[in-house]
């Protein structure tokens, strides 16, 4: 039964979502349907995680020809690289349905479609299939922000949509170029990523195609300087959409780089690694500083999320096992901490009718449980030891140190900025004096507490026992890096890249 598990995880939410959109149902019924579907997906995800062996190959593989004349397959699979991204998409969803209940059926339908499409993009091992899901996952976001967003939603919707579509159309051309090159070199058509990695590209067109791929993923991630859509979109989107965008969809951008760009464009990747890692660090610093000065809590979170995406992306560009493992781990860690923080801000907004930091204060005295949960998620997001954020960031900075001490020092010091804005915001919102508004603040209800508790525990568990997760992702990471070295060292002798024997002794 489990051999079709991935297909079920993709199409169950999509079909359920379409049904919700198309058939006249009441909002509460829609929410129940969404809740049931997301819990089914949650259990399938957990089952999959437990059953995953982590021997660095694709598991749960499914491969059916789709368009034979061009070698396009309906090919799915999970390996160490996609496992934790998939978990982020599968496990956190029920939270959204549990916590917020004021939306219409169209909203829940779109949420489900987004989940199915994201799981599809994560599991696709065929480039064209990946592209199809990649584009589909934008549509629900478009409708969610445009229909249910804040006051300036139209501008925000157009910005994110056109930005993203521009990126993905460029990627389409690059993707076709890769397929055509394979056809010219090997005489047959395929878009299967495992076979495409045998490709030997060179010359100006390869660089152009690499840049087009990187623009698409840099926009989605978002990587500096393509981040300008993010503050508007995250702020105007309804809480659940922001959650989907920040916790899962942004990660698919980084995941796309690891999955599709690194194996195909080894040489170009090695050549541009320094520039790209600088973009990551500059993005961290820039968005971090921008976050300090925000007055709107959600906007602050948006910038903080963008800043953290910088370090996650940095881990990919450092090209060694520690950094890559750190990135894969941090993808999941950041999804739990930032995703939950956005949901908490949504809760705050729902109760206070305001998310201006200046309007709030003293909430910790009124709502100790809420404050504790918020604090744990926040500390995980700034990387306090004992939480999952620490493991990921530590590994990435360790890897960065091996790649370039300069980058590592910059990245390490930038984390302090993160602590600054987070703690300062926490102080202003949760301590200081209560005002007449916050005096009425209700603590988490039992239902809310029970729905957040597993994620909070997960944050701590991942921080204290990271090995359970790392051992599943590390083989795939070292394999990926080993391939990268074999290619880039053979071809670019003068590029200073660290030696691969360091891969063996891990922290």
């Amino acid at each position: 039964m489990f051999e079709y598990a991935l297909s079920v995880m993709i199409f169950l939410p999509i079909l359920a979502g379409l049904a919700l959109v198309l058939f006249p149902l009441r909002g509460q019924v829609a929410r129940t349907v969404g809740l049931i579907v997301s819990i089914v997906i949650l259990f399938m995800g957990i089952e999959m995680f437990i059953g995953f062996t982590g021997t660095s190959g694709m598991e749960y593989v499914q491969n059916t020809p789709w368009i034979e004349s061009l070698g396009i397959n309906y090919a799915l699979g999970v390996d160490g690289i996609s496992l934790l991204v998939l978990m982020a998409a599968a496990i956190l969803y029920p939270l959204v349905f549990f916590v917020f209940d004021t939306r219409t059926k169209g909203f829940y339908g779109n949420l489900l479609i987004a989940q199915g499409a994201m799981i599809g993009a994560i599991c696709a091992t065929d480039m064209v299939l990946f592209y199809v899901f990649w584009e589909i996952m934008l549509l629900p976001i478009f409708f969610m922000i445009g229909l249910y967003g804040g006051a300036n939603r139209l501008a925000a919707t157009l910005k994110i949509t056109i930005y993203t579509i521009a990126g993905s159309l460029l990627m389409l051309a690059a993707l076709v170029y890769v397929g055509v090159s394979y056809h010219q070199q090997f005489g047959k058509w395929t878009f299967d990523i495992v076979q495409l990695s045998a490709l030997d590209l060179g010359g100006g067109y390869a660089v152009l195609a690499f840049i087009m791929f990187m623009i698409a993923f840099a926009i989605k991630t978002p990587l500096f300087p393509f981040h300008t859509w993010l503050p508007d979109a995250y702020t105007e989107a309804p809480t659940s959409a922001t959650f989907v965008l920040s916790a899962i969809m942004a990660k698919i951008g980084v995941y796309g780089i690891i999955r599709f760009v690194v194996p195909v464009f080894e040489i170009e990747f090695a050549r541009f690694a320094m520039l790209l890692s600088l973009a990551g660090v500059v993005g961290m610093i820039y968005c971090g500083i921008a976050a300090i000065s925000q007055k709107d809590m959600k906007r602050l979170m948006a910038f903080s999320s963008a800043s953290h995406m910088g370090i996650i992306a940095l881990g990919v560009f450092c090209m060694n096992v520690q950094a890559l493992t750190g990135t894969l781990f941090q993808i999941a860690a950041h999804a739990t901490s930032t995703g939950v923080l956005f949901l908490f801000v949504g809760l705050l907004e729902q109760r206070m009718k305001s998310r201006e930091i200046g309007d709030l204060g003293g909430i910790a005295y009124r709502a100790p449980i809420f404050a504790t949960f918020f604090a744990i998620a926040m500390l995980a997001s700034v990387g306090l030891p004992g939480t999952n954020g620490f493991i990921g960031e530590f590994l990435i900075i360790l890897g960065a140190l091996k790649f370039s001490p300069f980058i590592a020092v910059l990245a390490g010091t930038t984390l302090i900025i993160g602590v600054c804005y987070m703690l300062w915001m926490f102080q202003r919102v949760f301590f200081e004096k209560t005002n007449e508004k916050t005096a009425e603040f209700q603590d988490l209800t039992a239902k809310e507490m029970l729905s957040f508790l597993p994620v909070i525990l997960l944050i701590l568990a991942m921080g204290i026992f990271p090995q359970a997760f790392i051992k599943k992702i590390e083989p795939a990471a070292s394999q990926q890096v080993a391939k990268l070295f074999a290619m880039s060292q053979a071809q670019v002798a003068d590029t200073a890249v660290p030696v691969s024997d360091q891969n063996n002794h891990k922290n």
Binding site: L22, I67, S69, L70, V128, Y131, V132, E135, I136, L139, F143, G146, L147, R153, L154, T157, L158, T161, I162, I165, A166, L169, L170, L172, A173, V176, Y177, G179, V180, H183, Y205, L208, M212
Partner: protein
């Protein structure tokens, strides 16, 4: 016998047209019946075409009527697209003319005659035949464009279209004459053999081909002969516009591809020229489309852009083993999306086409969610978002361009489709993100509505199971 079989679909439609002409003499016969009768004949012709051309072989009858015509899988596919367009346009007309009462039975007869011309055009292998077919098709379309004699815009449209169309026809004959003078034959095969034997550029041939290209560029609305499109599409009634945008384009592109592909000498010489025409057509069309506030005008301008994409495929065709699969597929994908849009416009437009602007469709999703969803699907298909037919079409075109080494053209095509997102999304935003100010009541028979939703299914079916001919 081959002659007869290959022409059978055409004969069926022609017979239907004559039957309708005769029936038009009976005053009691309803106009709606005409739509139904024509649908039957289109359906029959489509079916016969499918049976005759459905085999696996590439070339079906290579020399019929003494080499004047030939049917290949490509011409058969183009014919299928044309019959399909005729069928769905009749469905839209049925509802449209239920509200706008200026139609007579002759309308459907003329439409069928022009379909005959189009199908003949897809098979033409010789310049004089092509010219005759082109004129049969155009004469019908002229009348259809100006059918509503009381409307000023329709009169303007027919005047513009007729004058410019006559010029284009003149250029075509001129070109044919020059080519005959140079090559000594009007058959494509003989011309191609002549060019192969005399590789040095013959002034007569170059001039002749140039004139023929002008005529074809005019018909497909390629830069710099695209200016008429916006006014003519706007003036014609919605179903007719849809018919022109799809069937006519399919027929002329089939001729163009046959003409260019058969003479590989031509293709080699004109490729740089076509490259620039394709680029300018795409960007010129986008510039026109971005400024429009009327949906029909926007669709007209986006039709120019799609002609540009098809020209990319023409630049990239491989003259040695031409199957035309990319062009055929794109024509089908484009036809499904555009026909769907115009079918929806036909029943949502109301009497006298009172709803044609972006603003008129504000809040449609709140009142008629299914219609708005259907229009969104068509727009996404035209924009090339998966999993629709338009995406696969664009994918094939980019693949063929890059395979032919035209990386620059592929990238420019992609940039152009980024630009086009703006005006497609604009309509979606109008429909979904604004509140409704009216109730979008529609009267009349539901055939256009049915055809809209059938076409939605087609958009996904063609997109998910792309059958490459």
């Amino acid at each position: 016998m081959q002659d007869f079989v290959s022409l059978l679909p055409l004969i069926v439609v022609g017979a239907g047209a004559i039957l309708l002409m005769l029936l038009a003499a009976f005053e009691k016969l309803e106009v709606e019946t005409g739509a139904l009768i024509s649908m039957v004949f289109y359906g029959a012709a489509f079916f016969i075409q499918l049976v005759v051309g459905g085999g696996p072989q590439d070339v079906i009858f290579d020399k019929i009527f003494n080499g004047m015509l030939a049917t290949s899988n490509f011409s058969m596919a183009a014919g299928l697209v044309i019959f399909g367009c005729g069928f769905f346009t009749s469905m839209s007309c049925h509802s449209y003319f239920g509200v706008n009462k200026f139609c007579t039975l002759d309308f459907y007869a003329i439409k069928m005659f022009s379909v005959c011309g189009m199908v003949l055009l897809t098979m033409a292998q010789e310049l004089v035949t092509a010219f005759i077919a082109l004129e049969i098709m155009s004469l019908g379309i002229y009348i259809l464009v100006g059918y509503d004699r009381t409307r000023l815009t329709a009169t303007e449209a027919i005047l513009k279209y007729l004058m410019l169309g006559a010029f284009a026809g003149a250029f075509f004959t001129m070109g044919a004459a020059l080519i005959y003078g140079g090559a000594g034959s009007t058959k494509f095969v003989a011309i191609s053999q002549f060019i192969a034997a005399n590789p040095a550029g013959q002034p007569l041939l170059i001039g002749g081909a140039f004139f023929i290209f002008i005529a074809i560029f005019f018909k497909i609305a390629a830069f710099p002969f695209h200016a008429w499109v916006v006014d003519v599409y706007d003036g014609a009634s919605a179903p007719v516009t849809g018919f022109m945008a799809t069937a006519l384009k399919a027929a002329v592109f089939a001729l163009f591809a046959n003409f260019i592909a058969l003479s590989s000498g031509f293709h080699g010489q004109w490729i740089d020229f076509l490259f620039w025409v394709a680029v300018l057509t795409m960007f010129g069309g986008n510039l026109v489309a971005i400024g429009q506030s009327n949906i029909k005008r926007m669709l007209a301008a986006s039709g120019i852009v799609h002609s540009g994409y098809l020209l990319i495929a023409l630049v990239a065709i491989n003259a040695e083993q031409f199957t035309g699969s990319v062009i055929g597929y794109y024509l089908a994908a484009y036809a499904v999306g555009t026909l769907g849009m115009f079918a929806a416009m036909s029943y949502l437009g109301g009497s006298g086409e009172k709803r044609v602007n972006f603003d008129d469709f504000k809040g449609l999703a709140k009142v008629r969610p299914y219609s708005a969803a259907a229009i969104t699907v068509f727009l996404l298909s035209m924009a090339g978002i998966p999993p629709t037919a338009g995406f696969m079409g664009k994918f094939y075109i980019i693949t063929s361009a890059i395979s032919a080494g035209q990386m620059a053209l592929a990238v420019l095509g992609v940039v152009s489709s980024i630009l086009s997102m703006w005006y497609y999304l604009r309509l979606v935003i109008s429909m979904y993100f604004h509140d409704a100010s009216e109730s979008f009541e529609t009267q009349g028979a539901p055939l256009a509505t049915i055809s809209t939703f059938v076409l939605v299914v087609f958009v996904f079916a063609i997109g998910l199971y792309p059958i490459v001919i």
